[in-house]
């Protein structure tokens, strides 16, 4: 082992002290300043929201089996898709990889004892929970029906639902993202172990860094948009409603200025996870380290310049459309480069098919499809047909579920032995990965066809000729739902009954694998030092595992 001076001890019969068993009692969790415990607080919270948001999706897919709507009134259906979107995006996807895996891994990967601001980190979680409480209040008190996009003047003047508590919940939660981003940026700049230069950092840290920049620069704009919405809805200040002298499209500019980069908040961390998993299970240095690192930064920068592609059919100037179309095509290039580099990493590797690798390979395939279908939407003339239809729904689910959720699950399987100290049953994990892959494609592929045929999104009922494809999609969703339940069960099972994992069950490089699993409270028994690049699999001792 050449990357650090610390050598992990063998697992001992008596359980050594680690961050999980060093203290007990609810106070030791709710007042913890340990980044690893805060990561687990986030893990429990976002898992809760994932299954709430997933339940809304299940109800929607059952409803859409029948063209007339099988289950609920249209008003209720509108609330289902709105709350599915709000919960999944703001309370699951955005915090998922950064707040759980990022929180756990950023200090471990750079060889630090904790994040730069441990109290701020705990505060982030409390802010997140407070925001979640407001949003859950709106759900319980009748729900909100504006769509997660809150388009004005519908949201500010016409909607008769719990717009204010839902928007307030998102407004508050945004500050949690900002503080997390701030914490990561400072930590990565100031707390790297001796010898951990920028170009020796694991690529996961590059993607966390790029994501943090978007958190800090983008989220305030969403806060502004929601605050202005609040002013107009509550005090009738004319900002967006034409009857009050406002401009309805201004909201869309402000909203997408954050919410398009937010897509990259969800996908960049997943790309970081994939960049860790693929080298480990190919036992090879990643292909084109610097290219992948800089393409993360390029994506983060470009993400702020493409929001207008959501507005090609609003009547904006055709020249504005031209500029946004060109910039949107430019985002495709660093994304394509990443895919080619991950694939090239497999070349002449030593590839094993463990569960994290299956998720990672699934990610590459599905992200490729999600990214390529973006070409239809960056192209001005084809976007006219597809904008606002199920094609959009399919496209962003390929990115956010096929991409971000597959990346998150891959990461959870990869680092679960480190987090819990236990192994999960591998056969079940591979089975779940396969079920999720099949269920996902069956759910969302038909939606590309529905959109091209012209079925608009957010329809509580629809013309009968679209039924066949809708039933296919609903069938796929039932498979996908089962696929997501299986990991929940075996992760919970493994915490008590799983075999002891040992410090480095995958034979991976990286500082986080050179400390016991679960790690001690202060992460490392001795401060590590780094002498080599990341992913130095070629020089790893044979027979380590």
């Amino acid at each position: 082992m050449s990357t650090a001076t610390t050598v992990a001890p063998e697992p001992r019969a008596a359980t050594p002290l680690n961050y999980l068993n060093v203290e007990y009692g609810w106070r030791s969790w709710l007042f913890t300043k340990d980044h690893k415990r805060i990561a687990l607080l986030y893990l429990i919270s976002i898992t809760f929201y994932f299954f709430i948001g997933g339940a809304f999706a299940v109800l929607m897919r059952i409803h859409l089996i029948d063209p007339q709507g099988a289950l609920v009134q249209p008003e209720t259906y509108n609330k289902l898709f709105t709350m599915h979107g709000i919960i999944m995006i703001f309370f699951f996807l955005i915090p998922s990889i950064p707040s759980v895996l990022g929180n756990f891994l950023v200090p471990l990967m750079i060889g630090a004892r904790d994040l730069a601001f441990p109290r701020l980190n705990l505060l982030s979680w409390y802010i997140y929970m407070l925001g979640g409480a407001f949003t859950m209040y709106s759900v319980i008190h009748g729900g909100v029906d504006t769509g997660w996009t809150f388009y004005t003047p519908y949201s500010s003047t016409y909607a008769n639902s719990q717009v204010i508590p839902a928007a307030l919940g998102i407004f508050i939660t945004g500050f949690s993202s900002i503080l997390t981003g701030l914490n990561f940026i400072v930590t990565i700049h100031k707390m790297r172990a001796p010898g951990m230069t920028w170009f020796r950092m694991p690529l996961f840290l590059w993607s966390m860094y790029a994501t943090s920049i978007i958190f800090v620069l983008g989220t305030p704009v969403l806060a502004i948009a929601l605050f202005l919405l609040f002013l107009e809805r509550v005090f009738q200040v004319g900002i967006f409603t034409p009857a009050l002298g406002g401009d309805p499209l201004l909201f869309q500019h402000l909203f997408w200025f954050y919410s398009h980069p937010a897509v990259y908040i969800m996908i960049l961390p997943a790309m970081g996870v994939i960049s860790e998993i693929v080298p480990c299970f190919s036992r090879k240095r990643i292909f084109g380290y610097k290219v992948i690192g800089f393409s993360s930064v390029a994506i983060a920068v470009l993400s702020f310049l493409v929001w207008g592609h959501h507005m090609f059919v609003t009547g904006q100037s055709i020249y504005t459309g031209l500029v946004f179309s060109a910039l949107s095509f430019m985002v495709a290039i660093p994304s394509a480069i990443k895919v080619f580099n991950w694939t090239a990493t497999l070349y002449k590797g030593s590839i094993s098919y463990d569960a994290p690798m299956l998720y990672a390979l699934g990610f590459i395939g599905l992200f490729t499809m999600g990214g390529l279908t973006g070409l239809f939407l960056a192209s001005l003339s084809t976007d006219v047909q597809l904008n606002g239809t199920y094609f959009i729904v399919a496209h962003f689910h390929y990115i956010m579920v096929g991409g971000a959720v597959m990346g998150y699950l891959g990461g959870m399987h990869y680092w679960w032995p480190k987090i819990s100290g236990r192994l999960y049953p591998e056969i079940w994990a591979r089975l779940a990965a396969a079920i999720i892959f099949v269920g996902f494609n069956l759910t969302f592929f038909p939606q590309f066809m529905l959109g091209y045929l012209g079925m608009p999104r957010r329809y509580a009922f629809y013309p009968a000729e679209f039924q066949f494809l809708n039933v296919m999609s609903s069938a796929g969703a039932s498979i996908l739902g089962v696929g997501y339940l299986i990991p929940l069960i075996y992760f919970a099972w493994s915490m008590r009954y799983g075999p002891i994992a040992g410090p480095n069950p995958w034979g991976a490089t990286g500082l986080e694998w050179q400390t016991p699993s679960p790690p001690p409270k202060d992460n490392f028994e001795q401060p590590p030092a780094v002498a080599d690049e990341a992913y130095d699999y070629a020089h790893q001792e044979v027979g380590l595992v």
Partner: protein, 319 residues
């Protein structure tokens, strides 16, 4: 019901407008690119997974750092594909942006949850749009409440209906029949019910339809009546010399504003000039016109615009 489900499953939308075929060509080319690269990545991954599967726990593959020629190749190839698609799609979009001269003008107003369609001849309809085959039709679109979106999948056209402003789209129908018309921007409880039909008719049938039924007065006539009733004619004296400019022959021409700029007089300009006249007074006239914001509904504004459009100079063709 289950049997009905498997009947008439469409796999591509009707191509019923002059642009549908060319938009579809681009659509299919991008589909081809998507399938090609998806297949390339999937098959490469599968091939590597099998060929380089781990055969022994002690395997240590050689280090491969990367390859500059490869990086350049797979940067340039996507860049060239993207540039090609950008040029193709944008030129299509630009070519289709402006309605041809002599298009039939129809006004569309969206409101929760219906489409109101006004033909200049006075015919009005709800959730239906009758158009003739083979003639360009230009829709001027607005909304009375929230943002809607006027979408005819078979024509490959879509445009938001935005309250407080006009947007427009145009098409030439190339097939007779009934085609879906959808609202494609979420607009509240019965968004899904804000749908209807575009009915494309043979031109002579269309003429018969246009002249049938008790279609009150034309928009132009209604506008002329409003112009008198609301006192517009007191200042905007047609012969000139009134407190406001004469409106004869202004439509379709530039006008000089008091701030030194020029503006093109089109539907959007007239709409603003009626509702909030003092936001850009015309050069040479004092800003004394009262604002009609809140005084006129969308249909009355359209009537007035139709009337002002009709005030052409002698011998001038319809703009």
């Amino acid at each position: 019901m289950p049997n009905a489900m498997f009947q008439n499953i469409p796999f591509h939308p009707d191509q019923a407008s002059s642009i549908a075929r060319s938009v579809d060509q681009l659509h299919f080319v991008i589909t081809g690119i998507t399938l090609f690269f998806t297949f390339l990545i999937f098959s490469t991954i599968c091939y590597f997974m099998i060929k380089y599967r781990r055969r022994s726990r002690d395997e240590r593959p050689a280090n491969i750092e990367g390859s500059l020629p490869l990086e350049i190749a797979w940067t340039l190839i996507p860049t060239m594909i993207c540039a090609g698609l950008f040029i193709w799609a944008s030129s299509q979009y630009f070519a289709n942006a402006k309605a041809p001269d002599g298009a039939i003008e129809v006004f569309v107003t969206g409101r929760q949850w219906m489409w109101k369609v006004q033909h200049p001849e006075g015919q009005s309809e709800i959730n239906e749009l009758h158009v003739p085959l083979g003639r360009p039709v230009k829709l001027t679109i607005t909304s009375e409440d929230v943002i809607h979106d006027f979408f005819i999948p078979a024509f490959r056209v879509k445009k938001d209906a935005v309250p407080g402003r006009y947007t427009s789209l145009w098409f030439t129908a190339t097939e007779t029949g009934r085609f879906h018309l959808f609202c494609a921007q979420y607009c509240g409880a019965f968004h899904a019910g804000m749908e209807g039909w575009v009915i494309v008719m043979e031109p002579n049938e269309y003429e018969r339809w246009l002249n049938s039924g008790a279609s009150g007065e034309t928009l132009e006539a209604a506008g002329q009546r409003l112009f008198q009733e609301r006192g517009c004619a007191n200042c905007h004296v047609e012969a000139g010399g009134g407190r406001g400019p004469s409106l004869r022959g202004v439509f379709g021409h530039p006008v000089r504003l008091a701030n030194g700029l020029t503006a093109a007089v089109d539907e959007s300009y007239l709409r603003e000039a009626i509702l909030t006249p003092n936001s850009h007074p015309v050069a040479g006239y004092p800003p004394i016109m009262p604002a009609f914001q809140g005084q006129l509904d969308e249909e009355q504004i359209l009537d007035l615009i139709a009337y002002i459009r009709s005030l052409r100079n002698e011998g001038e063709a319809q703009p």
